[in-house]
Every structure is written in C-alpha cells, then in structure tokens.
C-alpha cells in the first residue's frame, strides 16, 4: 500500500472542516486541517498535501492570495465558495486553482472533483492522449476527433477548443484560459468566439445539440468536458 493521498482542508468554520474530514476519511485520504491563512502556509511546508480544499473567506488574509503559494508547493487547489461569487471563482481559476465547488456542497460532488483534480495532477504532462466522451473520442496525440470510430473534420480552432478541455477532462477551463490558448493573448474577453466554436462543434459531434453530452458551459465561468 502506498502512502495515502494527503488533503488539506482550509476553512475557518470547524463544523465544515469536520464534515469534510468525515467523508474524506471514509474515502481513504489523510486529512490535515487549517483555519487561517497562517496555518495553511505552515501546513503546506510540514504536511506537503497533494490537494487543498480552500475556502476563500479566511479571517487573516484573502484566500485568493494563497492560490499561487499552494501551486508552487505542488498541490492541487479546489476552491470552496459561495454560489453567487462567480467573479471570485473565475479569479481563483485564472490564478491557477484547479476547480471549484459552491456552498452548500454535496460531499459526493466534492469527492468527484477531488478525484478529477488529482488524476490531472498525477498524470501531469503525460496526460492520456486518448479521451473518451460517449461516442466521441479525442486523440490528442494524433490531433484528431472521431465519432463512432469515424473521423470528424474540425477547424483548427474547433479542435483547439476541444483539446484544451480534453487535456483536463471534468475540470473547468475558464473562458479567458481557452481564449488565450486558442486565439492568443489580447482576446481574453472575446467570449463570443467561444460561443461560435462551441455551437459549431456541437453541430458536428452531438446527437442533440440542445442536450449536450460532450461538454457543458458553467455560466459566467468557462467550459467543462463531461467525460464518460
């Protein structure tokens, strides 16, 4: 048995920490807790967690400022924030957070997000070159997309869109991140490019574009591939 994966739970509410600890314990993670930014930084050094569940509303410091620190410590970050704090979520993701969950959260959902983030982090650069999404297969190595085994022609930007999502299946990629990767710097706010690309990809790949199974839009945040 290898060393269990370590999760650092950062929240100033002990009740929330207890709740998360219970479900994480059951799933076999080693759990460390922190209630302040100060405790978080020391836990990053001492416990070397693999993933941090970060509440942004800390008493001593803005949680956003911790994200680069966590990233440089080599841990994945999942932000836990209020439902209506869209701008905060986007800022956290653009700072390098891996994903977010909204309060009140469902423990199952948190565990699923943790698995996705850890898979991505452990895979690192050697991400799986073949991503399966229902009948659609995205081949990152050969730069091609097949549907039911048949190659579907996508424009370079459409392919780029899908490939960016496929590099981290199940994780949200912000609009700005997508635009920077595909259209280049300076286009971070041209969200309509993404809408056009997404619409055209769905027309080519989805059975029912009104009920997408390939990827979904997180309103105001970004896109997420729905693997499976």
């Amino acid at each position: 048995m290898t060393v269990p994966v370590c999760v650092l739970v950062v929240d100033d509410e002990p009740a929330i920490r207890r709740l998360l600890r219970a479900s994480l314990d059951r799933s076999g993670y080693r759990v460390v807790e922190a209630g302040t930014a100060r405790e978080t930084t020391s836990a990053l050094h001492i416990d070397k967690p693999d993933l941090v569940l970060l509440d942004l509303g800390l008493p001593d410091r803005d949680g956003l400022e911790l994200i680069p620190l966590i990233k440089s410590a080599g841990a994945a970050t999942i932000v836990v924030s209020a439902r209506d704090a869209t701008e905060q979520k986007v800022a956290a993701l653009d700072l390098g957070a891996d994903d977010y969950v909204s309060k009140p959260f469902d423990s199952e959902e948190v565990l699923a997000r943790i698995r996705v983030a850890l898979r991505h982090r452990l895979a690192g650069e050697a991400e799986s070159p073949l991503v399966q999404c229902g009948p659609v297969e995205i081949d990152l190595a050969a730069r091609m997309v097949r549907r039911g085994g048949v190659e579907v022609h996508l424009t370079p930007r459409e392919y780029g869109f899908l490939a960016e999502l496929a590099k981290s299946p199940g994780r949200v990629v912000t609009h700005a991140q997508l635009l920077r990767a595909i259209w280049g710097p300076g286009h971070e706010t041209d969200v309509e490019y993404l809408r056009v690309a997404a619409r055209s990809i769905r027309r080519k790949l989805e059975d029912d574009p009104g009920r997408p199974i390939l990827f979904r839009n997180e309103p105001g945040v970004g896109y997420r591939l729905l693997p499976g």
Partner: protein, 515 residues
C-alpha cells in the same frame, strides 16, 4: 452707473449716509461771515477809500455756495450786496446806488453765488456717489464674506433675509421647495403673514423664474414682491419683500443692490445644493457598501450551518426502514430550507439594488442545457422537451443571473406543472426579438392573475401543496428586469398549463459572428 443709482439723496439714504448739513446753521454761519467781512471792510475802509473792497464779499458767498448749496449762496450773495451797498457804496448808509458801476458788483456777487454753488454741488454729488457705491460694495462684500461661512441652505436663507431686511429696511421672506412643496424657510422679521394670494405669487415666481407680486407684471394684487433666486441649473428659491407701511417694497434706486444680493445668494445656494448632492451621493454609496457587506455576511452565516446540516444528513446511513424515512424527510426539508435561503438572499439583492452585473454574450441553448443539468434532481422522471433554433443570435446578459432565472422558471414548472406533466423549453426569434418560454401542463394561471403572479410572495390558489416560498417568479422578474429583459405569463392555448416567457429586445441580442 450714475443714472442707475439715482439721485444722491436716495443713494445717501441707501448707504445710510445723511449730508452733514442743516439749513439753519448754514444761514447763520454765512450771515456771521458776512458780518465779519463787513467789519473787516469797515476797518480797512477807515484807513482810506478803497473801491475794490467789494471783492472781500466773494469769500462769504463762495463759502456759503460751496458748503451749503445754491439757496444759501444766493441768500448770502444778496446779503453781501446789501451790506456792500449800505456800508461802502456812496451814498453810504442808504440802499440807493448812484454809480451804475456798482450795480455790476452786486450782479457779480450773485453770479458767483449761483455758479459756485452749482460747481460745489456737482463735486459733492460725485463724492456722495463714490461714498454710496463704496458703501454698497462694502455691504455686498460683507454679505459675500458671510456667505462663505454658510454651509446649509437654511443658514443661507437666514443670512439673506436678515441682510436684505437690514440694507433695504423691508420685511423679507424666503421660500424654498421641500417635501411639503414651496414653503417659508426663513423670514426677517420672523413670522411673516403670507396670504393665499402671496403664496400664489411666490409659486408663480418660482415656476416662471420671473419677478411676481406687487410692482411686477404678474399677480400684482399681492402685498409682497417676489424675486427668483437661482443659478444656471434653474430657480432654487424665491425671496419676497414687503413694507409694513404698505409702500412700494423696493425703490428703483435700491433695485441694483437687491439684484446683486440675490445674484450672490443664488451662487451660494447653487454651491450648497451641489455640496448637499455630493454628500447624499457619498451617503448612498456608503449605504450600498454596508448593504453589500451585510448581505454577504448574512449569506455566509446562513449557508455555513446549512452546508453542515445538508452534508451531515447526506453522510448519515439509516439503521432500519423507519430511520430511512426520517432521514429522507430531514434531507428534503433541509433542501427546501436551502432553496428558501437562496431565494431570500436573491430577493434581498434585487430589492437592495445590489446586483452587480457582468454582461457577456451567451448561447441560449447552452444556458438552457446547463440549467437543466443543475435541475436534474428536482426534474427526476419528468419529460423535458427543448426546442431552441440553432441559428439564434447570442443574448447579452449576466450569465449567472440568467442561469438563476432559468433555474427558477424550470423549478416553477416542476412544482406547479402537474404531477407528471411534461415541460417545454422553447426559444425562437420573432419580430426582431428573441422569446424564450417555459411551458408546463399544470392547472395554469387563474384569470386576471397573469400580472400578479410575478409579485413577491404570491402563491395562487390550489398550488400551495407543492410548496415553495412564492419567491421564485419574483426573482425571475427581478433579475430579468435588472438585465433589461421583460417577462410575461399566460395560459397555454392548447389545453391547461402555463407559459412563462422572457423576451430579449434587439439591444440584448448579438448576431453570431462568422468563425
């Protein structure tokens, strides 16, 4: 300027200066001088016959004319002529004149009196004018100085009334609009009597920006004379003047001073109004900030225990079927509380005007798909048909707010759409607008309730069983209207059921650019 101010007498009265003169002392002094000159003349005359002794009399005549005016000058001239004639012109000690040459002397003395007095009075007039205008300027400067120290409109009204009352010796009253309409804010002396007619004149003056009341062109039956006070931004107040002795309140000579006082007061009033506006704005901003802080703190305080309760309930495993039922009920109630808290906070955000929008082009079919995915659990087992034209323009809205609109509309359809009725989500373009509608197969909307149904806390008859706080549709309306969209509700045309629609006008649409 001279013609504006009017006669020196009036100017002097305005300025509070009275000429240092009394007719009687003038005559007495002139007479004394004449006697003195005569005595001196007689003394000189005794030493030898000097014919030009008459020149001596120029002295009293000039003094009288220049110092005490023409009338005193002429009287003195006549007195001097008589004295000269009586004492020095042969035959002396009589008033007869033998030599016609001596008549000229008398005439010259009279002429000097007239010319001298006129010259002097002109000089005096100029001096008085200068003095009066200096007095006026210093009165205005005093007032200006007083105004710089005034920081409220009421203090300014007080100062203006007091100053006008003092400088023009009139009753002054200031009327300013407030919550109770145009009414008296200050008066000097206090407690003025304003009849209905006077108030009407004041209102006319305020509305038209022109003088009204006595001596003006409008509502002249009023005892008061009203002048507008204001700046470039319009009339801010009205000042009224009257006299207790029922004379004309303002004489033409006083008008320029009054006009300048009113102008100064208008500038100060505009400045104060601006300062008050700025203060109100800062206050509103502070209130907004506090509200925002309160909302987010309440939101945090309500959600933290909810998260714990929901999470704990979800993690609990029932021991036996009875506990299973209890747990399921507890979970359902906690979920309901969660939705209620969400709705309550959303409503608070709408009603406090604390919605901060970030508008983005969105694809309606994507937005509907995301909302349906998030509503998977409440929709369990229900048929949902989506028909969204694939070539619709993008919609310009705040994605998060719109997401909540959709969730609430779908939730409403799930709650009130009958036990297993299907839901239809349709979006199409018609008449230059996009209409997105959510239709259910429930009992529909009772007649006449289509408008009321979006109101806060409205739950229609017979729909109570399925619960809900009655906030969902109010939130849809609040969010939609905040984003510039309109909402409507009607009954289906093809059988029972309600249709709720959101309409995007042309300014809320963006044609899809070619990729």
């Amino acid at each position: 300027m001279v013609s504006n101010v009017g006669s020196p007498d009036r100017v002097a009265r305005i300025a509070g200066l009275e000429m240092p003169r009394s007719a009687l002392t003038g005559y007495l002094i002139s007479l004394a001088l004449t006697v003195l000159v005569t005595l001196a003349g007689l003394a000189i005359f005794a030493r030898g016959n000097i014919t030009n002794i008459g020149l001596l009399y120029l002295l009293p005549v000039l003094v009288a004319a220049t110092r005490y005016g023409m009338r005193t000058g002429i009287v003195t001239g006549l007195a001097c002529s008589l004295a000269y004639n009586f004492f020095f012109i042969p035959p002396t000690h009589t008033f007869t004149i033998d030599n016609p040459q001596n008549i000229i002397t008398v005439l010259v003395l009279l002429g000097v009196a007239v010319v001298g007095s006129q010259l002097a009075s002109k000089v005096r007039e100029q001096a008085l004018l200068a003095q009066a205008s200096a007095a006026q300027n210093s009165a205005l400067a005093d007032f200006a100085r007083q105004l710089t120290g005034v920081s409220t409109a009421d203090a300014l009204a007080q100062a203006l009334c007091a100053e006008i009352s003092r400088l023009l010796s009139v009753n002054a009253v200031l009327l300013r609009p407030g919550e109770d309409g145009l009414s008296v804010r200050s008066a000097a002396p206090p407690a003025p009597v304003l009849e209905m007619l006077d108030i009407a004149a004041a209102r006319w003056c305020f509305d038209m920006g022109q003088a009204a009341g006595r001596g003006s062109d409008a509502l002249t039956a009023s005892e008061w004379q009203f002048y507008p006070i204001g700046g470039a931004s319009g009339v801010l107040a009205v000042i009224g003047l009257s006299r207790s002795d029922a004379r004309e309140p303002v004489s033409p000579a006083q008008l320029p001073l009054l006009v300048r006082l009113i102008d100064q007061a208008g500038l100060a009033m505009a400045r104060i109004a601006l300062t008050e506006d700025m203060a109100a704005l800062a206050q509103a901003r502070e209130r907004d900030r506090l509200r925002q802080a309160l909302l987010s703190s309440v939101s945090h305080d309500l959600r933290t225990p909810l998260t714990t309760i929901l999470g704990t309930l979800n993690d609990m495993r029932a021991q036996g079927p009875e506990q299973e039922v209890q747990l399921a009920e507890a979970r359902a109630e906690a979920e309901r509380l969660h939705r209620f808290v969400d709705n309550l906070l959303d409503m608070a955000r709408i009603e406090s005007g604390a919605l901060h929008q970030k508008v983005e082009p969105i694809d309606l079919s994507e937005a509907v798909a995301s909302a349906l995915q998030d509503m998977k659990r409440p929709l369990a087992g229900r048929q949902v048909d989506v028909a969204i034209a694939s070539d619709l323009p993008l919609a310009l809205v705040d994605p998060q707010l719109f997401h909540h609109c959709l969730i609430n509309l779908i939730d409403n359809a799930a709650k009130h759409g009958g036990s297993a009725g299907g839901i239809e989500v349709v979006a199409r373009q018609a008449d230059g607008a996009i209409v997105l509608s959510v239709a259910d197969r429930g009992p529909g909307i009772p007649p006449g309730e289509a408008l009321r149904i979006f109101n806060t806390f409205i739950r229609l008859e017979g729909s109570d069983r399925t619960g809900g706080s009655g906030l969902g549709l109010a939130i849809v309306k609040g969010f939609a209207e905040a984003m510039g969209l309109s909402v409507s509700a009607e009954n289906r045309e093809d059988g029972p059921g309600a249709v709720f629609a959101i309409r995007f006008g042309p300014e809320k649409m963006k044609e899809v650019p070619t990729a």
